[in-house]
Amino acid sequence: MEQILRNILDNDFFVYGIMGIVPLVWIVPYALFAIWLERKISAHMQDRLGPMRTGGWHGWSQTIADMLKLLQKEDIIPAAADKTLFNIAPYIIFVSAYAAYAVIPFSSGFIGADINVGIFYIIAVTSLAVVGILMGGWASNNKWSLLGAMRATAQIVSYEIPSVLAVLAVVMIAGTLSLQEINNLQTGWFWNWFVFQKFPFVFVAFIIYFVASLAEVNRVPFDIPEAESELVAGYVTEYSGMKFAMFMFAEFVNMFAVSAVAATLFFGGWNSPFGEFLSGPIWGVFWFLSKGMMLVSVQMWLRWTLPRLRVDQLMYVSWKVLTPWAFACVIAVGFWMML
């Protein structure tokens, strides 16, 4: 018996399985909480109260109730839809969002896979979402969905470039693609964080990364793929029930993923801002998650402040503003390092 157990525990695939599930332990409560938080933040910014009834204190269980409702809903597949593609699209989007968590270092003691091309892997795997979006939009056989999917594809593909360039600035300073090592390089007080180094070039790079990541996760002011006042709901128009919930879930998972990357690259990841104070693997999780959540909150804050851009302006921002500035940052950082 002991032998069998030992065999199971020693089995690599078992370990991988466990490691694969651990991020879910954070993601599921996080998504439920973030949806509630978004509703609350938006409500209070608009002098409202938001959900107040479900669960007692400030409607804390509203999202759980919503999720239960969505689970029970009839799964409607439009008659003219391409059923296979229509069904798998939400899962592809979710998988692409979730796969990024494999290399995100939650603390000095936990990282799914400490591969030496971590950041490269994240960039590669998150752009898979395009496939899912295009699949969902095309398979819905709805003109609004199609328009939304086309917009999303154009948007996500073009915003990859400035975000990659911004990441490149950090990678040049760190000299490594491994996220864990990038974190190790930022240990100490908060002025060791990359965002404050080679000032202001890395800071600008952070802004560029943040803006581009907003576009990659389709948040305002770049939410044109699902612009509800133009395209009804874009590529999710025809989805209902649990599949719609998967899109929603993937969006929030993605929001945290890009925030986590930003926190890792620019804000020291799991490092405590105060040197040795409250540092260590356990506190690391706390610092990492709170940095991530801060950035998620800023995303929400922007969401409820700004109008949305138009398609051509979106391209303008990407190609004529973010990309040249990101190049400038990369070059400036390079020169600084040569000095």
């Binding site: 209070h44 608009q46 002098d47 409202r48 109260l49 804050w301 402040t305 700004l306």
Partner: protein
């Protein structure tokens, strides 16, 4: 051209920051919404909501029915016998008609207040009751008549009988008149209401 490019970027960032400052400030402003079923707003005195008819005061003048632009009020009256005493309204008017039907289809009502003004006895008025949704639309047909069905029947029968008597009397009078050389166009008596 190049200058405009930089100005645009500067303006965009600056206006975004201004907007963010405003929305952030509002995070700490107390909400203006209320928790409706728990907390209810105080309605002003003149609030116009569900109609109410005080049947004790209704004299069956049909003014409100005529005033209604959507025909949601339906009234039927029956003449009372000279021997009946229906009492007086609170404004001191003598009631002369049995009101056998006073239905308001509140689902049709447009809450325009036009029926309230013509009422000579101020018996129809708008109240501050606004929670009266129903699952069945028929429940929105409000009957205000205080008479029971039987009473309505008897009143109607009595009226019909009285009407008949009157008609008979009139016929007799007409017959007498016919006998007389003076030719007067006999006035058609209104048909008795079906009971």
């Amino acid at each position: 051209m190049m200058r405009k490019y930089f100005i645009d970027i500067y303006k965009t960032i600056w206006s975004i920051l201004i907007g963010m400052r405003i929305t952030f400030g509002h995070l700490f402003v107390p909400a203006v919404t209320i928790q409706y079923p728990d907390v209810k707003p105080k309605l002003p005195e003149r609030a116009r909501n569900r109609l109410y008819v005080n049947m004790d005061d209704c004299i069956g003048c049909l003014q409100c029915e005529m005033a209604c632009p959507v025909n949601c009020i339906e009234i039927e009256t029956v003449k009372s016998l000279p021997t009946d005493d229906l009492g007086t309204t609170s404004t001191g008017q003598k009631k002369k008609l049995w009101v056998t039907k006073f239905d308001i289809d509140i689902a049709k009502c447009c809450f325009c207040d036009l029926c309230v003004y013509p009422c000579p006895t101020e018996c129809i008025k708008m109240t501050d009751v606004y929670e009266f949704s129903e699952f069945d639309r028929n429940n929105l047909l409000y009957n205000f008549v205080t008479l029971t069905k039987q009473e309505v029947e008897t009143v109607k029968a009595k009226a019909a009988e009285f009407e008949k008597e009157q008609a008979a009397k009139k016929a007799a009078a007409a017959a007498q008149a016919k006998a007389a050389p003076v030719v007067a166009p006999a006035q058609q008596s209104p048909p008795a209401q079906p009971s």
